[in-house]
Symmetry: none
Subunit: 206 residues, 4 copies
DNA sequence: AATGAATGAGGTTTCATTCAT
DNA sequence: TATGAATGAAACCTCATTCAT
């Protein structure tokens, strides 16, 4: 038998197809939701047959997991945060929000489709929290802690500060999905304001 | 004959049943999602027949609209904000977050089920934005503006401040749905931190 | 108790309502068919409640029977034929077709709705044949027979002649329902041709 | 490998199944009517799953269209009429009625089911008229015209003669559906009488 | 490995009929 | 007698999944 194709080539091909399917699925899920998207839709968009999908994923739910894992692989929070340490706190916040923007722009569809299901699918929710949120919180907490220790930021409870930052992130994403005009068109300025507010507060100048 | 009731016995009964169905639906939607909830489930939970549901709602989608409308009716943002004006800015923030907490606790299921669909249903999304978000933004903006003018809070762009507040609100709700430990168990303290951060910033004390 | 309303007044009222319902039903049945017409549709068109329909008819099928019976009551074939005897054969045919036209114009909807169901409802079909077709055939046969005996028409088998006439009648009705242009717009002339053809044949003049 | 079949094994199989479903549907529709026949009934009779029906037809209505199209494909009116030209007028009529008989016997169920719906379904009605009746009328008119010109039949308006013939055809079919004894048991003789009447009229012999 | 026709469970929705008022 | 809300069986149709090719 001809075993000319080395295992790795086949693997690479498989990875490509898997990615094709995931992209197609994520876009459709974001557009019309997980449940309104049929496997036939996905097959069509990914230009494979329905059967092929099942060669790469156990079932439709597994596609969501696949998307989530893809999101996970794209995250390099630790590296990002390490790189950010030299920045001062305000610039850090700005760069955080900028990164968030880029990240979201890149994975918009995936995020949107996953979040929607997470809200109403306890199993997926837990997996998402464990796999993506919890590690992020951990890293961010450490980062914030070290900034507090180094006197860059005030002595608030780090775990609270982290929740505030993450909440802002999710909330802004949500407003963006809702196509809020200000969030869409004045993003950069809004990011600046946000950083300023977080850094200096809204208290009137003395 | 007891003709004390003007004409509305039937009307009142209808309203009760409608509410029964909406409550049942919202709980189930939040629990397992709109699409995993069958009309039979709803009928069972509301203790009516499936047919009866369709005497009160055009179709299953209409139930979501119904839930949204209920959320809308529950909102009395204008009154809330008017009452809040005497408070100073920090107390205002705290009371905002508290109200949010109460409001959410009350309508948790409804909010959760609606938000999930909104993320992937453009039609519902627009309706939600127009009916619930946009008016809230408007009122909050006015409120913030008057506080700026009266010198209670610093001169940031009001429309940006409002987005920040709303984002925080959504984000915290999201973390709560994700059952984040800190958000769940330290809510009051977290609210306080949030208010402090927003008010005074995270900048180290001078 | 006040028994002021004499039995007959009540009866008359009942008859009127029954007729109202039958008319509404027949029109709707003809328009969109028996099965696509809901009892609610009928109630609306007849300006009564759905419940009231069931005070006058056992069930929906019974409405069709009611329509058929109405058609039956409208028929006065015996009298018509008796009156027609003095006419010569050709004029008789013309007057037959004319009467058919009038009759149809009057009961168009009822006929249409009943015929449709008859084609696919064996029970109704038999009833229709027994109650309406069979008697007509009988009377027509007698009539034709007496015309043959009196030498007005040629000695064809009367039962065959009758089938031919009745077939023509049904067929023309069918073409009219199909909105055939010629049948609709040149009816009178067509009737004349038909009578001529039946009377003198299409054989070329000697 | 047997690659004798060009590419159409699948296609042929599809055609067979489609036909299976159409036959099953037509029989059931004729037996109990379109609306009293469930897709489950059809699936059972055609020995396929309900889902399979929807792989071949868009919806239940589409089945009727399918039946109509089948009727249309079976019609070869033009050829029939061309072949009939050499016959003299009376024999032509007889052969027409004979062909009608055969045709009907063959497609009885389909015709019956389609006609029933046509009476109460404007959309289908128009389609039927355009696709089946109108072309037949056209061909028949031409045929009759040429017979008139060649002196085979008398100078009646061809479009009227055609309506008469078609009406007779429909009417006789209708009586047959009604199981009229004479039409069923004396068909051949009835056909002969009809031809004679049409040809020579019922006018008494001179 | 890829395909896509076949499947059938199960979902939403309709609607004839009932019955308390 | 008239009403119309409540019912629930059953219809049509969808779609995730399988499997022979």
């Amino acid at each position: 038998m001809n075993r000319t194709i080395p295992k790795s080539r086949r693997d690479r091909r498989a990875k490509i197809i898997k990615r094709l399917i995931i992209d197609a699925a994520a876009n459709l899920f974001a557009e019309k939701g997980f449940h309104r998207t049929t496997t036939k839709d996905i097959a069509l968009a990914a230009d494979v047959s329905e059967g092929t999908i099942y060669n790469y994923f156990d079932n439709k739910d597994d596609l969501l997991i696949g998307i989530m894992e893809h999101l996970y692989e794209e995250e390099h929070f630790d590296a990002q945060l390490r790189d950010a340490l030299p920045l001062d706190a305000r610039d850090f916040l700005i760069s955080e929000l900028e990164k968030h923007k880029v990240n979201v722009a890149h994975n918009n569809a995936m995020l949107q489709s996953v979040l929607s299901e997470i809200l109403v699918n306890p199993k997926l929710r837990q997996r998402y929290y464990m796999q993506l949120i919890s590690p992020s919180i951990q890293l961010l907490t450490d980062h914030v802690l070290s900034r507090i220790e180094s006197g860059h930021i005030r002595n608030h409870k780090p775990q609270h500060l982290v929740r505030i930052i993450i909440s802002l992130t999710f909330g802004l994403f949500f407003l963006q999905v809702l196509k809020d005009d200000v969030v869409l068109s004045e993003w950069d300025e809004l990011a600046l304001t946000t950083a300023n507010v977080l850094f200096e507060g809204i208290k009137p100048n003395p």
